[in-house]
């Protein structure tokens, strides 16, 4: 359906970034925008230096709260060798020719840019050194740099970057492939806690977000779509809407059938958003019947059970002989797990401002993935991509929702029809009714453990959504998902249910559900065997450093490292001293190249089943370098608390082909009173730095469910957790 950031496609993205030679492009093309500061000189697409020494660095990727507007420029500034206080950061427009792939997804910003952006800084630094050496008539090797100056080592002669930048114009840049980089031990910016560049603007309420965009002469729009995804308008009282004060234009949009594209609906354009909404209320729209209008979550549940009763439709993995192993096992367990659809619900509802004038479209979009948005607008409206400019605004949350650009194409269409600049803004209800949801799923497990505590059999019949091999977006599971490859007899099957509900990647796609089921069922096996869950899981991870090779390789050694650390941090060994009703659970998960183990301590009140999460401990291994520890800590704590919110509260129910939940009143999110302290430790290992916005989330869900089991004896196999079942 849309950009899929798990499995193979994630690797394709990585490959594209390398093969595409983005770095070379960035150096060969000078930025088209003139430098904002008087006399500033652009050294490449990312760096300009003003005569007064102020350095402006472009932030290439969309900022969705993951901190890349700060962390990516940190990489450039480090190698450029300037003082961070002298750096100004500017958000780049969507411009793949200058900046290659610009998106927020897959926790890829760090791994895809860490080498390239450091080289961007190093090349610019080398140009400044060469300029100084030319002026001083000495070999560049006699010069060093420090804090925005080039220094001639033997004489101590000094020149500011600001005075040298002008002499770099037209000078050939050295080859980024061979440019030397700093010894990380000498880093002054990377690895230091840096506040988000825009933190002051955020706390003073300055306009930063898509919703804050104002364009002269701008009108406001709302767009009503069918609750059943893709249904067409049957009737709408356009005249009644037009009669509402302030309403300027009301029209039906035919739309298409692609659920992440322009769908049918009614647009109301007015001189204020409130007037547009009042106009919309007058429409009394009715909708044509649609083939998926009978779909429901209850129906999916029933169908999943039916499919499990029959033969699986396809096999994803088969090692050894599961049936024989189950027969010979000392302990066996059978369990059915299920998880619901989820809405991303970023706090800023979807919006885009668009202005179509003289055949050209200008857009301001809070998108995680603006280039596919531009292409979608181009193909839907029949405009050349080169005639579309997309300005990236800060996003009030992303979580994967804004990888799709449905709101962008709606705004573009409505603005062209309206003949004026238009800000399209969805209501929260629009957002919750028209998400690309985290897909629901079902897992029917059988497992066996021998008398020494080894898992000898693992069987999973995964019932997911799609048709045959063509799965709904983010509804897939790889055949190497843990504990596959760690259990000698392993069978993973798959069956599918056709789906008329749009789905898409949500923070740690796949993993946010698979960790829950797999780590929960492993915990069941540990308890069946009477084993300490940490020791049991450590044993399951085995002794080998690596299992598998290449992109699907699993570094069991790194996982053992974080598991041991999480146990140590949490005082796992002393957990039997906790009061009755309070217990710890543990889980780990590998995703997005990160190794995470987490322990949750929770208390279950036997009187009413209420759960209190007392504390979370996270041990994280994302390689040798945390780029910005201040931001990294925030990401990990937020991810852990978000995971708790999934487990405790969140569920989208499909009824009559539509999402039933509509707002935070019936789709609650975790609030302050339920937020536990989250202690985080980064385990540093000698691997390339990778992302952490996503992999921190998955383990907390099974860790909580496992803690609840330890506290109450009740096993959570369905999300969200039904506290009624936890009453003693």
């Amino acid at each position: 359906m849309t950009l899929e950031l798990t499995g193979a496609s994630r690797r394709d993205l990585l490959k594209a970034s390398v093969v595409g030679g983005g770095l070379v492009l960035s150096f060969s093309i000078a930025p088209k925008a003139g430098a904002a500061e008087a006399g500033a000189q652009a050294l490449n697409a990312y760096v300009r230096i003003a005569p007064n020494g102020l350095v402006t660095i472009m932030a290439k990727n969309p900022e969705i709260g993951q901190g890349v507007k700060t962390s990516l420029p940190m990489m450039i500034a480090e190698e450029l060798d300037v003082l961070w206080e002298n750096v100004r950061i500017e958000q780049a427009d969507n411009d793949p020719k200058l900046f290659t792939r610009q998106f927020a997804g897959g926790s890829l910003a760090t791994p895809m840019n860490y080498d390239d952006l450091r080289k961007v800084g190093a090349v610019a630094r080398a140009m400044l050194v060469n300029a100084a050496a030319t002026a001083w008539n000495c070999p560049s090797g006699e010069c060093k740099t420090a804090e925005g100056h080039v220094i001639h080592v033997s004489t101590g002669r000094k020149a500011t970057y600001g005075s040298l930048a002008g002499q770099c114009a037209g000078v050939a840049a050295p080859d980024p492939k061979t440019i030397p980089l700093k010894d990380p031990k000498t880093y002054k910016i990377i690895g230091q806690p840096k506040r988000q560049y825009d933190t002051k603007k955020v706390v003073t309420g300055q306009p930063l977000f898509g919703i804050d965009v104002r364009v002269p002469g701008m009108l406001y729009a709302t767009f009503e779509k069918a609750p059943v995804f893709g249904a067409k308008v049957a009737t709408a009282d356009l005249e009644a809407a037009r009669a509402v004060k302030g309403v300027k234009k009301v029209f039906i949009v035919e739309g298409g059938t692609k659920l992440d594209g322009l769908l049918p609906g009614v647009a109301v354009v007015a001189d204020s958003w409130w007037a547009a909404r009042k106009g919309r209320n007058a429409l009394k729209t009715t909708w044509q019947d649609h083939p998926t209008s009978k779909q429901s979550s209850a129906g999916f549940d029933k169908r999943a059970a039916e499919l499990n009763a029959g033969a699986p439709q396809m096999n994803l993995r088969k090692d050894g002989d599961v049936d024989a192993a189950l027969k010979g096992a000392a302990h066996t367990v059978e369990a059915a797990y299920a998880y619901p659809f989820l809405s991303h619900a970023p706090l800023e509802p979807q919006n885009t401002t668009a202005h179509f004038k003289d055949g050209k479209m200008e857009m301001w979009a809070p998108s995680q993935n603006p280039e596919p948005g531009r292409q979608l607008v181009a193909s839907t409206l029949g405009i050349k991509p080169d005639d579309i400019t997309v300005h990236m605004t800060r996003c009030g949350g992303g979580f994967g929702r804004r990888l799709s650009n449905d709101y962008m194409v709606e705004a573009a269409w409505i603005a062209r029809e309206a003949g004026a600049p238009v800000k399209l803004l969805w209501t929260r209800e629009d957002d919750m009714h028209h998400d690309l949801y985290r897909p629901a799923g079902y897992h029917y497990f059988k497992g066996g453990v021998d008398d020494k505590g080894n898992v000898v059999a693992w069987q999973d019949h995964f019932v997911t959504f799609g048709e045959g091999e063509k799965l709904a977006s983010s509804a897939g599971m790889g055949g190497t998902e843990f504990p596959a490859r760690f259990v000698p007899n392993c069978k993973i099957d798959q069956s599918t249910i056709p789906l008329g509900v749009p789905t898409g990647p949500m923070r740690a796609p796949g993993s946010n559900a698979l960790a829950f089921v797999n780590q929960g069922f492993i915990d069941e096996l540990a308890h069946a065997a009477g084993a300490d869950p940490v020791a049991f899981k450590m044993k399951l991870l085995g002794d080998a450093p690596m299992v598998g090779t290449g992109p699907s390789g699993y570094n069991a050694g790194r996982m053992r490292g974080v598991l041991a650390e999480a146990a140590k941090m949490s005082g796992w060994a002393a957990r039997d001293k906790l009061p009755k009703g309070t217990a710890m659970g543990v889980a780990f998960h590998y995703s997005h190249a990160g190794y995470f183990a987490e322990v949750v301590q929770a208390t279950v009140n036997p009187a009413n089943g209420a759960i209190k999460v007392d504390k979370v401990w996270v041990a994280a291994d994302v390689g040798r370098q945390i780029v910005n520890p201040l931001g990294a800590m925030n990401q990990v704590q937020g991810a852990a608390i978000e995971g708790l919110s999934h487990a405790l509260y969140q569920k989208i129910t499909i009824v009559d082909g539509a999402a039933k939940e509509s707002n935070f009143s019936n789709y609650p999110l975790l609030r302050m009173a339920a937020a536990p302290p989250v202690e985080v430790k980064f385990v540093i290992t000698d691997y390339p730095p990778t992302g952490l916005g996503e992999p921190a989330l998955p383990p907390v869900i099974p860790a909580l469910c496992n803690a609840i089991f330890a506290a109450s004896g009740k096993r959570i196999r369905t999300l969200p957790i039904d506290t009624k079942q936890l009453k003693a």
């Binding site: 104002r214 931001g631 978000e642």
Partner: protein, 154 residues
């Protein structure tokens, strides 16, 4: 009809329907975009402003009900004796992720500290009901403690 509103110490005029929520009057008519829209039904707190010093969800407050009460938004917190301390703590601890909820969080925290200068954890739990979708609650709690001169633990 035209309403005279006392916003951030200035009298501003907005010609809007009586049922227009204060939030949209501020954002669309007066161009004061610090208060954010998250839900429209008083659930999330992104739209929080002070009405005579009290934290109020402006998305459900019709402009006609404001009268001559003092409306204060995040834009005026730099001049508010408590608000500026709260903002300073928010910056110091770098609370925000996406930042979208934070104007509302700061307004709620400032109102809390105005009433309860040294809030306990329980006070914070009770007063801070705004949603942070990015779940920055750990730092919000710490920043409130810091702004109130208490020891920061988280």
């Amino acid at each position: 009809m035209p309403y005279k509103l006392n916003v951030n110490g200035k009298v501003l005029e907005a010609d809007v329907d009586a049922d227009t929520p204060l939030l949209w009057t501020l954002r669309d008519t007066l161009g004061i975009t610090g208060p954010k829209f998250g839900c429209g039904i008083a659930q999330c707190g992104a739209c929080t402003v002070h009405i005579d010093g009290k934290a109020t969800r402006s998305c459900v407050l019709p402009v006609s009900a404001v009268g001559d009460k003092a409306v204060t938004t995040i834009e005026a917190m730099e001049n508010h004796p408590i608000g500026k301390k709260v903002q300073a703590a928010w910056m110091d601890l770098d609370v925000a992720q996406c930042g979208y909820c934070q104007p509302g969080q700061i307004m709620a925290a400032t109102a809390l500290l105005a009433k309860t200068p040294k809030p306990t954890d329980a006070d914070i739990d009770q007063a801070m009901t705004n949603i942070c979708r990015c779940a920055t609650y750990t730092r919000i709690r710490a920043a409130i403690k810091q702004a109130s001169g208490q020891k920061v633990t988280a």
